[in-house]
């Protein structure tokens, strides 16, 4: 497989993680929002529920944010490595 395709594969995996993570994050926040919403209607537990809800949402978004950031970092690293490998290979071809 040539370097263009390898780069394409890396970009595709990065896109899949990015879009997949955003979609799953949205579903998780929405699904959890329902029971939290009900509990927040009950005066006795409304206030602590709101606090837990905020912590929950921040944790979910934080974890997904880290997943996306790692995917981007790995993608960029592999991309740079591919460019270096390609450059080295071209230099080698020119010399021989």
């Amino acid at each position: 497989m040539d370097a263009t395709r390898w780069r394409g594969l890396v970009a595709l995996v990065r896109d899949a993680v990015e879009h997949g993570s955003r979609a799953v994050e949205k579903v998780q926040l929405e699904a959890a929002g329902r029971p939290f919403g009900i509990l927040e209607q009950i005066p006795a537990v409304a206030e602590p529920t709101r606090v837990v809800h905020v912590i929950h949402d921040a944790t979910v978004s934080g974890v997904h944010g880290i997943v996306r950031a790692v995917a981007r970092a790995v993608g960029t690293t592999v991309d740079v490595a591919l460019r270096v490998a390609e450059h080295t290979s071209n230099e080698h071809d020119r010399e021989s």
Binding site: T4, R5, G8, V27
Partner: protein, 316 residues
């Protein structure tokens, strides 16, 4: 490895090829002619090297959705292109393309490729025979339509077009998928909506198969709730002799009508055959149904080639 990799990329392109092209991803397959698995540049020197015995008559073979040119390979060796060269002197030109792109886009690209070929083919071209399998047949039709509108020169060299397993009136499985995606997106549940979003990732090429859309404007007639074959707005060009090969899993005529070759129902595969007689858009001798033959088999079946050969002999 090479063939398997290309096949894997063919499947990937068929599934999300429109996204790959849109994001300029290196995995997107450009439309190209291939010889022994390798792409050939569209210039005279490259073509002379790749086709040392180039003939004035060529056959263009367009594969189907999620395929590559390897779909034509017969189990015992050879393929329709090689046989047409052996029997009639046609130089086979195997097309490889991103089957996830919209059918009109692939049609436009094929029309441009053939127009360019006229100027660089090693000898003066006298005849272009078109052979499309499944979606490839619709790409061929879209190319002919666009060449006709644009007055391209290559179209005057096309006397015959063969369609093998082509869903001329669309593919009902895609229309069912469209309905299911719409239903899932209407359910007030985040998981159902996620499922609908995942389903909607399928490529433009797949979506165009639902109603056999040959032009971008044809999509306006898509009706989500309808599972019936649509009335096709782009007729077969009258200046060309059209020949159709359709498959049928069952030998029972009623079952064959409904299930066709497992992917393409009989009405769509024959461009209009209904249970009532006399409903074909083409002369009956231009349509051949192979009972007991599944969709993918149609692309590499010795009996199908025998039929293509007969048609070539008839028309000289």
């Amino acid at each position: 490895m090479g063939k398997k990799l290309e096949l894997a990329l063919g499947i990937l392109n068929g599934t999300i090829g429109d996204y790959l092209a849109e994001t300029r991803n290196g995995l997107a397959t450009p439309m190209q002619l291939v010889v022994d698995g390798a792409p050939v540049a569209l210039d005279q020197a490259s073509l002379e090297r790749a086709f040392p015995h180039a003939s004035s008559r060529v056959v263009v073979l367009a594969h189907g959705l999620m395929c590559t040119e390897s779909v034509w390979d017969l189990p015992g060796g050879g393929d329709y292109g090689a046989f047409l060269e052996r029997d009639f002197g046609f130089t086979p030109l195997y097309l490889r393309y991103n089957s996830g792109l919209a059918i009109p886009d692939n049609g436009a690209e094929l029309a441009r490729l053939l127009e360019a070929l006229l100027g660089v083919w090693p000898v003066a071209l006298e005849e272009i025979l078109l052979l499309g399998f499944s979606m490839g047949g619709l790409v061929v039709r879209a190319a002919c339509h666009q060449a006709s509108v644009a007055g391209m020169r290559w179209l005057s060299l096309v006397r015959r077009a063969f369609y093998v397993g082509t869903p001329h009136l669309g593919a009902p499985y895609e229309r069912v998928g469209r309905v299911l995606a719409k239903l899932a997106s209407a359910v007030p549940d985040p998981f159902a909506r996620l499922a609908a979003q995942i389903g909607d990732l399928r490529s433009d090429g797949i979506k165009d198969l639902g109603d056999a859309d040959l032009r971008h404007e044809d999509r306006a007639r898509r009706r989500v709730g309808s599972l019936r074959d649509p009335e096709h707005p782009v007729p077969l060009l009258p200046a060309i002799q059209h020949y159709i090969v359709a498959g049928a899993l069952s030998t029972d005529p009623r079952l064959a009508m409904v299930f066709g070759d497992a992917l393409v129902p009989m009405g769509s595969g024959t461009n209009g055959l209904r249970a009532e007689p006399g409903t074909l858009a083409l002369p009956p001798r231009h349509v051949k149904i192979f009972a007991g033959t599944a969709h993918m088999t149609l692309a590499h079946d010795p009996h199908v080639y025998e039929q293509l050969r007969e048609w070539c002999e008839e028309e000289g």
